[in-house]
């Protein structure tokens, strides 16, 4: 297997991008990544794009061809592939790109993720997101995605004593980090009281427990080690990139306070990267809901099951803690552009490992990102290192 390095990263702004359409947003991220890598563009041999629901947000399928076209790569006949796993679509694109280089099939590829959500109304958005769970047996009865995370949260409260304040602290931390990220959707700090007084969405989850749904795109250029060294000395390697599945609906799972897909993907990722959870210096976690971050602390093996809230209570996952989580602001503050999120996480970890993260820079050599689809039926774990 070839070693795979990230040689360029790019990201659009995340948020309500009223002036930009899907094509402009993707192009912005892609061109940034290509420029960052010092490529001309035509060196790219394949495109992998994560996008959850172009079909419903834009009534546009065949998203990969659209991107190949507007990036000028269709002119060269470059193959473009769209992958989908709800909001883990970006993680899947990263993994497909990684596999294509690791296998030796391609030398340089681009992995991107993009979503344009604000062209439809908020009720439509809720409906589209509900498609990431079991539409017929969860969505039909009114179990929205926040509702399903709320079921997990309540069970976690009852089994392990996690509290609404613990969830609020996750949101507060991520907003604090987001305030330091120029690309973040929300660059303002909030308090625990703000979270606890925000409108109820699906009890016990409140508005400020939930990540926004945003427009945005992100892209990374991957190359094998030999090619990568021709472009940069500041290499960030993908040491492993794994993916696992779980039952789509919560009612089919043995324990809704555990995301089995996260546990399985993580354990394989550590093994393949030959590191342990204790070696990780910086983490980007899929905090689509605050409870997801707490459960991920446990399922990624940073702390034993049920003790996730301790990490946030003790400040361990703060920017200045021993295990900074979501220095970007996470999905909550940086924004959640659904299909873009998995790639956006890779952009953040790469910036951190390169030492280019500005005010939010943490001391790190090994990083991890976790991208989750829907309520956890898909998980992608990526481990990054400078050597």
């Amino acid at each position: 297997m070839e070693r795979v390095a990230i040689i360029g990263v790019g990201q659009s702004e995340f948020g309500e991008l009223w002036d930009s359409g899907f094509r402009e947003i993707v192009l912005k991220a892609g061109i940034d990544a290509i420029e960052d890598a010092g490529l001309e563009g035509k060196e790219i041999e394949a495109i992998y794009i994560g996008n959850m629901s172009g079909g419903r947000y834009l009534a546009q399928e065949h998203i990969a061809a659209l991107i190949a076209d507007y990036s000028g790569l269709a002119e060269l006949g470059v193959p473009a592939t769209r992958v989908e796993a709800a909001d883990a679509s970006g993680g899947l694109a990263l993994r497909q790109a990684y596999l294509s280089v690791a296998s030796g099939v391609h030398d340089i590829v681009i992995a991107a993720g993009a979503e344009k959500v604000t062209d439809v109304g908020s009720e439509m958005t809720t409906d589209i997101m509900a498609s990431s769970a079991d539409r017929e047996w969860e969505g039909f009865v009114g179990a929205t995605i926040p509702a399903l995370y709320a079921l997990m949260a309540r069970k976690h409260f009852e089994m392990y004593g996690t509290t609404p304040e613990d969830l609020a602290r996750v949101s507060v931390k991520n907003h604090k980090n987001g305030a330091l990220n120029p690309k973040a959707q929300f660059k303002r700090e909030i308090t625990v009281e703000d979270v606890l007084n925000s409108p109820k969405v699906a009890e016990p989850l409140r508005l400020l427990d939930c990540a926004p749904l945003s427009d945005g795109a992100a892209a990374v250029i991957l190359a094998n080690e030999k090619i990568a060294r021709e472009y940069t000395d500041n290499l960030v390697f993908i040491k492993s990139c794994t993916q696992a599945s779980d039952y789509l609906a919560l009612h089919s799972r043995r324990d809704i306070t555990t995301m089995e897909a996260v546990r399985k993907a993580a354990s394989l990722a550590y093994k393949m990267a030959e590191v342990s959870s204790q070696n990780i210096d910086v983490v980007e976690i899929h905090d689509s809901f605050t409870i997801a971050e707490i459960m991920a602390y446990e399922d990624l093996g940073f702390v034993e099951k049920g003790k996730g809230a301790e990490l946030i209570r003790e400040g361990i996952t703060e920017l200045d803690g021993s295990l900074p989580v979501n220095p970007s602001g996470g999905l909550k503050a940086c924004g959640h552009a659904i299909g873009a999120t998995g790639i956006r996480q890779a952009v953040e970890i790469t910036s951190q490992l390169r030492g280019e993260a500005g005010k939010r820079q943490v001391d790190c050599e090994t990083g991890l990102s976790l991208n989750i689809g829907g309520t956890g039926a898909t998980a992608v774990v990526t481990i990054y290192g400078v050597v």
């Binding site: 409906d127 009114g142 179990a143 079921l151 969405v201 009890e203 089919s252």
Partner: protein, 130 residues
Amino acid sequence: MLPRFWRKIKYRYDIVGSVCETCNTKYYPPRNFCPICRRRSSIKEEMFEGKGKVLSYTVVHDTPEEYKLEKPYIIALIELDNGPVITSQVVCSENEIRTGMRVKKAFRKYFEDGEDGIIYYGTKFVPDED
């Protein structure tokens, strides 16, 4: 949506699921393939008891368009007596719902395809505490 709903009427109007006779695991919604036994699975349809207890619940305030009039409504995971876990609505007041609460099935309307569309009926749950 129409054929898709019609196809599952039997399983929505009552709690008809399936059981794998090889490992005795019960499934709702029904599966025609047991994830545990895989090719050794032997699936049979089974009607489950319409009683059970609430494992977890949430009061939903931010609702999809079709549930606007029911806001807020309660979604719960319910463990059926001698049966699987089902995701359903529980019809009761916000102050009444709690985990561990005993509930029983009720035939109710889920939503309508607007004023001139079809009506989607199905199984919900109501308190069963006496």
